[in-house]
Symmetry: C2
Subunit: 115 residues, 2 copies
């Protein structure tokens, strides 16, 4: 069976600054309260999650995380207001896209799935 696939992302100076995956990572930080737990939630090593977050901050020129070091819970992280706004805007940008792609596919490749 042939299925349509897509990817959506944002670039600045030719470099990725936001994507579905990056937004899921930010959302995981928001919902878990730590980079460690967020990395686990999106199934990447801590180091990769940390690097991607730092890379986004550098490329965007924004602070995305407020972090606490140490403490009983081993520190934590939460999104800045700017990061929350970017997440919300990206979700608005991408919302309904899958359905749009599916509709276009059904129209253009009508019947080909059966082939």
């Amino acid at each position: 069976m042939i299925v349509p696939r897509y990817n959506l992302w944002l670039e600045q100076d030719g470099k990725v600054v936001l994507s579905g995956w990056r937004v899921r990572l930010l959302q995981a930080v928001a919902s878990t309260g730590s980079i460690t737990a967020a990395a686990e939630a999106v199934d990447v090593p801590y180091r990769r999650a940390w690097e991607k977050l730092k890379e986004m901050e550098k490329r965007l020129g924004l602070s995305l995380l407020e972090t606490e070091v140490g403490g009983a819970g081993g520190g934590g992280a939460r999104l800045t207001a700017e990061a929350e706004e970017l997440v919300a805007r990206f979700l608005e940008f991408s919302n309904g896209f899958e359905a749009e792609v599916e509709t276009r596919f059904e129209r253009a490749f009508d019947g080909i799935r059966a082939g």
Copy 2:
């Protein structure tokens, strides 16, 4: 400046069978009449173009090219009717997508380009 980007492709059994790039390669074969010239037109080595065309044929279970070996012009290639139909369907699938992505971006990230 932040810009939206996207990619659209089709998969069968989890493998890419058609994409914007692959369709441009097929279109280049159609317009140049040879795999060699098509590879040059889409700026990849001949071997890579040939492998991608064979891969698509194998994954789709279709003949995409009619080739002539040898002759004064060193042989040539043209698209089969099935390949022409796939190209046309993919163009219908993807037509207007860039504008759709841009509109969604403008709506969701209103004013952020200035930032």
